[in-house]
């Protein structure tokens, strides 16, 4: 096992730098050390000016999504040992506005989320107790509720790179999460929102999102399912 790894970190301070650059730090490895541990090592031992996001350190909060050695990953659940390279290159999420170092502005990402009516909507009065939902019905949303809104898929999608209006894989997967939920009664409304040129039809099934997702969700499948439902809905209207 490697004893020391070089962490090559993307640096950019808008107050000082005209252009971003990389800075290399030597990290003495501990067993099972993660990239997030490495970033903290830099912050505490080598350079207190480094900026990055973190919270849960266990892959559930979505804060530390980064572009590491050419792949989308959560820094906290990526071990140096599993990357098996002497130099580990860490970039912020591409295609989102840069704030400083590894921190990007997530506003464009959350704006898309807000557009798809991201909440369960019912038209009938709720039952006295819970809605009944069979295990089979529940299974339909089992995968998509794992989304932690980390932004990896959004950042990885070539369609979001070229069209800033595109809702993107995360927001569309969230839309599908509600359309597929047996309790939601706003499918027609939601389908209207996604049935546009910057909605589901902008997805050209590149599958980058599938590869990027650290929670092993398949956003492309959700988008395709939305397309099928939209077409079915359209036939019903006729």
């Amino acid at each position: 096992m490697l004893k020391v790894v070089t962490l090559k970190v993307f640096r950019f301070d808008p107050q000082i730098d005209e252009e971003p650059h990389f800075q290399e730090f030597d990290i003495p490895l501990r067993p099972r050390m993660t990239i997030l541990d490495g970033l903290f090592y830099i912050l505490e031992e080598q350079d207190p000016t480094l900026s990055f996001r973190f919270a849960c350190r266990e892959g559930v909060c979505g804060s530390c999504a980064l572009f590491i050695n050419g792949s989308y990953r959560l820094a906290c659940q990526t071990q140096f040992a599993n990357l098996q390279t002497k130099i580990v290159v860490v970039n912020p999420l591409p295609h989102l506005p840069l704030i400083k170092d590894l921190v990007v502005d997530m506003t464009p990402f959350f704006e898309k989320y807000e557009l798809i009516m991201p909440y369960l909507k019912t038209l009938t009065a709720p039952p006295e107790r819970e809605h009944l939902q069979s295990p089979t019905q529940r299974k339909k949303i089992k995968e998509v509720i794992d989304c932690i809104l980390c932004g990896c898929c959004h950042s990885a999608c070539p369609m979001t790179w070229t069209n800033k209006e595109y809702l993107g894989p995360a927001a569309l997967t969230k839309a599908y999460r509600f359309v597929a939920d047996s309790r939601d009664e706003a499918s027609p409304e939601r389908i209207n929102i996604v049935n546009t040129e910057v909605g589901i039809w902008r997805c050209h099934t590149t599958f980058n999102c599938v590869e990027a997702c650290p929670k092993m969700i398949n956003p492309t499948a959700s988008i395709q399912a939305l397309k099928r439902r939209t077409v079915a809905h359209w036939f019903r209207l006729r």
Binding site: D13, A55, M117, Y119, L120, S134, D146
Partner: protein, 566 residues
Amino acid sequence: MVYHQVLVIGGGLAGLRAAIEVRRKGLDVALLSQVYAIRSHSNAAQGGINASLANIEAGRDDNWMKHAYDTVKGSDFLADQDAVEIMAKEAPAAIFELEHWGTPFSRTGDGKIDQRPFGGTEFPRTCFAADKTGRAIMHTLFEQANGLGIKFYPERVMLLLVATDDMCHGIVALNIVTGKLESFGAGAVILATGGYGRVYARSTNSLINTGSGMAIAYYAGAGLEDMEFVQFHPTSLVGTNILMTEACRSEGGYLINNQGERFMKNYAPALMELAPRDIVARAIQIEIQEGRGFENDYVLLDLRHLGEECILERLPEIRLHAINFANVDPIREPIPVQPAQHYSMGGVDCNTDGETEMQGFFASGECACVSIHGANRLGGNSLLETVIFGRRAGAKAAEYVKRKEKASVQEDTLEQALVNMQHRIVALTEGGGGEDPAQIRRELGQTMTEKVGIFREMQQMQEAVNKIADLKVRYQRLRPINHNRIFNLDLVRAYELEKMLDIADIIARGALVREESRGSHYRTDCRARDDEQWLKHTIAHYTPEGPRFSYRKVEITQWEPEARKY
């Protein structure tokens, strides 16, 4: 200055639920959070949320009284029973509300919300979404908050609670992204900033859980209640101390020592692995101390006999955590686990409506102490607390603001506080010596884990108090802190450290004074519970010389203290 009728600090479940309630009452509410609201530590809650729904056969005789009794007994009779009754009574409605809002609970064969047994309970009453219940509810409440158009201020660190004459006027915060200080005026402030896990070296908590919110309330005049009661979760992953939910054991997992023995039979023969957390944590610690652990550091949590199907369906994320962080697949190998700090029973002293001693200042969730957990919290009651008491605090804060004769915005007071804070930040960046804040933080964590941990003893706790005093002196001589404006982690962490030192001091001193063993507070030099002397809550108030302790009686409605056997 920005003004909102109600300002919620903290974007976890308690904060979100409070904000939703305020909005539903028609008031203008904003939520300020150190991270994006969806990133808060509530995400990490795994096993479930309690309510006596009696949805499954084994729980059909369950009711709110039994839930309340289990909670009171679990608390080692330190919980206020009037508060526990409210929580247990309101629990089913709160769960149905979450379900109606879209929480994807796991289901029984006939489509009802499924329930699993949890530690220290008579019936299976823990509702769950696989092993991701906190996250499932978190996303639901975030979604509802979005639907209601609640205004969010993400990535702001509260630096100061502004209060005069025991009345709260708002806060001063640091905008992490711009580096600018901002003042927020508010008719009422609801604190929902969670626990202080990172005061301990070994903790299951998020890295952002420093207890700063509690400390800032304390400086402004709020009391901190029962801070010496610190929950240690029995099963955290060795190395990272990531939580391995109690549901592992409620689904049938075994705890095994190096003799291959299910050692819980020697500690809690009736409930075995499902005894309350304080008891299981102590048992594991004894096994390790007496040489029956592995590498003198851990025991094994064995899930293999549950089978692949059960693990993949009901504990999928536990499996991923074990694989990702310990290189162990629980389907094939047992998981190495050890106890770690997990939860703060104590917090800002408040009543069942979240009201504190300070007018216009409310508290809810883990940062608050109502008190429903007393000396030991039962698993599944913390998520419940956030939604029940978050809602109640929100409703009361809304009522308070509506009742206020006229909005007396103290703009000058807030602006002055901002200027003063600006000077303090500059002083911090200039430094006063060469002390490394990260080193102080590490030493603090080690001290707390070693000396104010699962087993406590006078000498050790005194050493901890002395050590913390020493660290506080060293904190006054910090190296210059980074003065860069944008996303300055060095500054945020140095600022938090001061709060962490004070929180640790209150925990250690409170524990030192309490000469008995009760729930999570276990003293090897006085092992018995002493109801005559100590059936009372500890309240700490700030003085420049250190915490001043006072005590208050426990509310007992129907359950007189009895011996706690499982």
